[in-house]
């Protein structure tokens, strides 16, 4: 029988234990009021700006010496400049891979890209082993630029973890990268892919995914707190089924996630939320055939959803098509084909839509070129007629 301490000491210890357990929870009550604050969306409009149809296509990295340039991300700053980030090197998870950044000038032309994070800089910043860097995602906080990027500690993508860094001078210099602990198993296997959705009151909902034993989509919540950002992660769906969600807010509380599906059915999947991302419906296959390939989506000014995806009806990634849904993702209509070339690969589209209906998209061509396309809803309607 253990020797008992005097009752007063035991009571004090018990109270201390209860306080140590409950105080963090009690202290979080103010912050809790800002959890799931709702998505920042512009009110739906007719989408007819009267602007003539236009379509523009450029290569962001025309002189890239790298064998592989992939997984591009795009943001538009308050001043209208655009920034693109992607990873490039000799191959996935290779030691020479770096995260590259390019921006547009005043005339909207893409400037020469430059490496902003490589494995040496990441190791120095993080004090961790890094064999490679990978997927990068840009955030626009006014005219401050944020970068979420992956470092691989061991193996391949399943050995990755997520980091964040900030730049106040348009990407010329970056803060020390900070690792985000997003899961309890050695904090491995968290990756970003599709654009972050701004939240009401500031911050972002960032669709991320895990691919360790399970492969599933999550949301990284970045909320402003004390001059910086606090973060937490919640799940969209579990299991080994879908990943790389494209988060498309439809209203302050409603949103859908369009997801890459690697189950045998091979159709783009969709989940929806009606409570600002707190809970999600189980993933359902849509009618769009997609063979385990990256997809993206955006809300058009009229409230419909635009998706870009590889249509597996003509091969795995040999085309890049656009489809529109006017009923929240229940039914879809193919409206345009951006690329189609047998034997080639067009993949990992990433797009944003301006309030005026201008759609801006990046994707990888042959996993060597980062292609930028820009079009408006008038062009989409023209294509729809041609389909």
């Amino acid at each position: 029988m253990p020797r008992q301490r005097p009752p007063a000491i035991r009571i004090a210890l018990c109270l201390a234990a209860l306080a140590a357990g409950l105080l963090p929870w009690w202290n979080a009550r103010e912050m809790a009021k800002s959890a799931f604050p709702g998505f920042e969306v512009t009110a739906p409009s007719a989408g007819e700006s009267g602007e003539p149809a236009f379509f523009k296509k450029t290569v962001v990295n025309p002189f890239s010496p790298h064998k592989k340039s992939h997984s591009a991300s795009l943001v538009r700053m308050e001043d209208g400049r655009m920034f693109a980030a992607w990873y490039a090197g000799s191959g996935e998870c290779a030691p020479d891979v770096a995260v590259y950044l390019a921006s547009t000038d005043a005339a909207g032309n893409w400037q020469a890209p430059r490496a902003i994070f490589n494995r040496e800089k990441a190791m120095a910043d993080l004090g961790r082993n890094v064999i490679s860097v990978g997927n990068a995602l840009l955030l626009a906080d006014g005219n401050r630029l944020g970068l979420l990027f992956v470092t691989v500690a061991a193996g391949r993508w399943s050995g990755s973890s997520m980091n964040i860094a900030w730049s106040d001078d348009a990407g010329m210099t970056w803060s020390r990268a900070q690792n985000l602990t997003m899961n309890p198993l050695a904090n491995l296997s968290a990756l970003p892919r599709n654009p972050a959705s701004p939240l009401a009151g500031g911050g972002w909902a960032v669709p991320v995914y895990e691919e360790f034993l399970g492969k599933f989509p999550e949301v990284l919540w970045l909320l402003p707190r004390g001059g910086g950002y606090d973060f937490a992660v919640s799940r969209v769906a579990g299991g080994v089924s879908v990943m790389q969600a494209a988060l498309v807010p439809l209203s302050r509380t409603d949103a859908v996630c369009l997801m890459r599906d690697f189950r045998p059915a091979q159709f783009m999947s969709i989940s929806s939320t009606a409570d600002a991302g707190r809970t999600w419906t189980p993933p359902q296959a849509t009618e769009l055939p997609n063979k385990d390939s990256g997809i993206c989506g955006a809300r058009l000014p009229d409230g419909s959803i635009l998706a870009a995806y590889n249509d597996r009806s003509t091969g795995k990634r040999e085309n890049l098509r656009l489809a529109v849904s006017g009923d929240g993702g229940k039914t879809w209509k193919r409206v345009a084909t951006l690329e189609e070339e047998p034997g080639f690969e067009f993949s990992y589209p990433s797009m944003v839509c301006d309030p005026d209906g201008t759609v801006r998209m990046l994707y990888s061509a042959r996993q060597t070129q980062i292609v930028y396309v820009e079009f408006n809803t008038a062009w989409l309607k023209e294509q729809e007629v041609l389909q």
Binding site: P2, R3, Q4, R5, R10, L13, C14, A16, A17, L18, A19, A20, G21, L22, L23, P24, W25, N27, A28, R29, M31, A32, S34, A35, M123, L126, G127, R128, N129, V130, A153, A154, N179, T181, N183, P184, L185, A186, N187, L188, E210, F212, L213, G214, K215, F216, E218, W221, D230, F231, A232, V233, S234, R235, A237, G238, G239, V240, R278, P282
Partner: protein, 199 residues
């Protein structure tokens, strides 16, 4: 914290394999542990693969090392049993979910502001477990108390409460220890014919 855990693991290991015991054994093991963690690249690997070692795991290792060095139990059997039960139960609640089982990730509860009304179950659960153990005089309660205080102080890189009370090593050791205890209770050893205690 993770470097400290690896250091203590090496000390614990050498204490068991070296022929010298007591304080001399502790000194030699400590030197081995210190030499190990000062390997230049090792710190990078530790931080990469074990970024957030839990406070109870550090406490349990310290208890084992000091107990062996002083030839006196710092933790009694009931204290160890409480540690293994807590570690195993918490592991079963956390890790299958973290690996993708189910539509809700129990790891999310470790950020108290996200699912605030639900996460009280985790925070109160650890607080009450710690209080009950301390009331009963169980020393594992101190480690849970320290874990709570460590979280309040923001001791680790992680901002998630789970990482202060549990880590994969603690979870795995707890599960193995509990299984071993259950097996031993079903298959008790025959009485020692010489009447002495096994070393």
């Amino acid at each position: 914290m993770s470097t400290l855990t690896v250091f203590l693991l090496v000390v614990w290991f050498f204490q068991r394999v070296l022929p010298v015991r007591g304080l001399l054994g502790l000194g030699v093991s400590t030197a081995a542990g210190a030499a190990f963690v000062f390997i230049p690249w090792l710190g990078f690997w530790i931080k990469s693969l074990a970024p957030n070692a839990s406070i109870p795991m550090v406490g349990l290792l310290l208890a084992a090392i000091l107990g062996r060095a002083c030839n006196k139990s710092v933790f009694r059997p009931a204290d160890w049993k409480a540690a293994w039960i807590f570690g195993a139960a918490a592991s079963l609640m956390l890790y299958p979910s973290a690996l993708g089982l189910g539509a809700f990730d129990t790891y999310s509860l470790g950020w108290p502001w996200l699912f605030h009304s639900v996460s009280i179950a985790l925070f109160a659960g650890v607080g009450v477990a710690s209080a009950v153990l301390l009331w009963l005089g169980n020393r594992f309660g101190y480690l849970l108390l320290l874990a709570g205080l460590g979280y309040l102080a923001g001791f680790q890189e992680s901002t998630n409460f789970w990482d202060y009370v549990l880590d994969p090593l603690f979870g795995a050791v707890s599960l193995v220890a509990l299984i071993a205890m259950a097996w031993r209770s079903r298959n008790p050893r025959p009485a020692n014919p010489r009447g002495t205690t096994a070393p």
